[in-house]
């Protein structure tokens, strides 16, 4: 490979490595989170007391 191609390879992978790393982290952090619905399962205090 020529000197220019070797330098081009190195520069290209330094820049692309940074872009890929940044995009990967940002992409993962921006993933939509699963919506979890909480349900109150405690027994009502008045359960069974109703005449």
């Amino acid at each position: 490979m020529t000197v220019a191609h070797r330098r081009g390879h190195f520069a290209a992978w330094v820049v692309l490595g940074a872009i890929i790393s940044f995009g990967f982290v940002i992409g993962l952090l921006s993933r939509p989170r699963l919506a979890v619905q909480t349900t109150d399962i405690t027994t009502p205090a008045s359960h069974g007391d109703n005449p």
């Binding site: 000197v3 191609h5 081009g8 190195f10 992978w13 692309l16 490595g17 995009g23 990967f24 993962l28």
Partner: protein, 348 residues
Amino acid sequence: VSVQYAAVTWNRNKRIYDSVIVAGVVSYIAMFVAITKLIAPESHGISDEVLLIRALGTCAYVMLHVVLCIGPLARFDRRFLPVLYNRRHLGVATFVVGLAHGALSTGYYHGFGRLNPIVSLLGTNTDYSSIAAFPFETLGLIALIILFLMAATSHDFWQRNLSPNAWKWLHMLVYPAYALLVLHVVLGGLQSERSTIYPVLVAVGAVTVIGLHLGAAWRERRRDHHVNASTTAWIDIGRIDDICDDRAKIIGIDGHERIAVFRYGNCVSAVTNVCAHQRGPLGEGKIVDGCITCPWHGWQYRPGDGRSPPPFTEKIETYQVRLQSRRIELNLHAKPPGTPVEPARISE
């Protein structure tokens, strides 16, 4: 090497190589579909078309990793050179599988409306300011266009007509194409995946590709500091006994192209280290049938004049060498390509 153009210059090795590629692609897709259906019960809600889209997409993605790793691996270990020899076929196959993925997904998701599928693909989601809802399809489409340009110009006809340097720069576009595809996967498929295994696999692939390329490039950069070109034209490059028969010593000079000094029989000759074909490292090749043979694609040059044997017409630069009590001296001034230079003779 060939004197005339043919679509593919087939030989036994290329047939075996291509058979392995086809068998690998078919096996991967079959296993992907079968394993997904058997192991992941939640995938029963996914149609066969979507499963095939995913199988083709991941297959092309894996193939691109292999294509990109072959080059630096061959720099680290000569046993990968035979794979490098046929890398073009794997690159074209990667484009074909990627095209199948793109065509099937475009047809499936955008082919049943009133709009042209391509118009629908590019116009349905234009929220480029959002990361979570980024139109990742556009990234894949741009990468596919780059892969198409590379596949279409992969033949030696284009390499010769575009010039080896322009062709090499054009084919380095595969690097940004890879970056686009990583982002295509991260902003697309990974957005809806809950499992951690998929991000880990993508990260491992990216770290491997980037690490191998940076490692190989760093290793190459260090080689270039062996000799500092001084005002004098002749430099001492070491003992003749340090070079094996039919092999070369590569001389790296700051800011200059490398020089390959070959020892063959009782002769020593020096030529540029850069092959006229794809700029392969001639000094990592060897003398075969009396000719310097490039380790990448087998192009050959006579060590005495840097010319390919007839009927071929390629020429490379030559350099003067002389021996002083078994030490080699090299003249750093390159002779024009194809200039005959008397080899230095080793006296026993």
